[in-house]
Symmetry: C2
Subunit: 220 residues, 2 copies
């Protein structure tokens, strides 16, 4: 039998919709650290009962994005300076290795998409989108490695520091500097120079770390 099949994309579960929305709101800083997540309020916002909301909160807690106390509910977790530094250390350890392994596997299409990402990043005038475009650029290159577990872990690390990173991008010349570094990383990838791409990525991350640590007091 031949038939134009339509992807009857099963609507996502309420729980996953709420999870995605809350995660996005947290990493973008729309709900501030320390702010409580009221189950009833969220349930009303999404026209659901509290059950899917609680499942979403359980998942957020497992991701470290919220902390819950019994009978007191969940609050958005923040990072101490020490904790933020630790996550940057972690990223500086793992991301260079991932891009090093990704470079020999990058297709023309990957490089083209990455170029579009840094172009969009460098020309965007909406600070609200910088964080997203920045992540797109790196994720596109990393994805070529095929290392799904590493990619997931990097996503989690990014989720936790994203708020602070975004604040960093709009301050001083963070945006311009990030842009120049993106181009350098991209060129190393185009040239197939894995070691250099790894080294530039490491510098990109430790540089962000240093500049964040200098300004962190002003951010909180």
């Amino acid at each position: 039998m031949k038939l134009n099949s339509v992807d009857i994309s099963k609507t996502a579960s309420a729980s996953s919709i709420v999870f995605d929305a809350l995660r996005k709101a947290i990493i973008e800083g729309d709900v501030k650290e320390g702010e409580p997540l009221r189950q009833d309020e969220i349930a009303r916002l999404f026209n659901t009962s509290r059950i899917p909301v609680r499942e979403a909160i359980s998942r957020l807690e497992e991701q470290g994005l919220v902390k819950t106390q019994r009978y007191k509910g969940a609050v958005v977790s923040g990072l101490s300076q020490t904790e933020a530094e630790e996550i940057f250390d972690f990223r500086a350890l793992i991301e260079p290795e991932v891009i090093r392994r990704a470079v020999p596997l990058m297709s023309q299409e990957t490089l083209e998409r990455a170029r579009e990402s840094w172009t969009a990043f460098s020309t965007s005038s909406e600070p609200m989108r910088w964080g997203e475009l920045n992540r797109d650029f790196h994720a596109t290159l990393y994805r070529a490695s095929g290392l799904q577990y590493h990619l997931d872990i990097i996503d989690n690390a990014m989720d936790r520091v994203d708020r602070y990173l975004r604040a960093q991008l709009v301050m001083s010349n963070g945006m311009q500097r990030a842009n120049e570094e993106h181009i350098a990383i991209w060129e190393a990838c185009v040239n197939g120079n894995a070691a250099q791409a790894a080294d530039l990525t490491r510098q990109h991350i430790t540089g962000a770390r240093e500049s964040l640590m200098q300004n962190i007091n002003g951010l909180r």
Copy 2:
């Protein structure tokens, strides 16, 4: 006012009890990969409703220990050989760095506890406990680093490969070899030789990886 206060340790929530129990059962291999987790059955086992069970399953999924399909429920996730290799690669990258930073911070008490761990490991005749004692040993040393985020990530990586690692320990001379390597790592720590401890840890992990890859077909 003086009074002998008793810590009225609030009993943990049903959801967290179920989560801990399921996690333990999965990493110890008591529920095999591919096996479905029936909400009703689990709820009966713990004398609760399905609500806490579902929250526990949500968290397990976020940890990557189960996979769920809508209206079909959750099954214990397994690892392909490629995925297992990737996780060992990850561990070989991060654990040496953690122990390297931990060595200068190790107290006498830490070293003593680690010695007790490898002693217990080497003298235990219960294969069912080897996996636990092995983790104890490494966790004790890593914990001295104070790098909580790294420790959490390592725990997750261990959770995913624990089943296969345990199977590995009982095969061939995996147990004896692990034991010798533990002693060597421990001695490097006692001597304050961070670089050597890191290098031995890396070899310990890549060695386990190699031997697991040779036997993986027999394990599945």
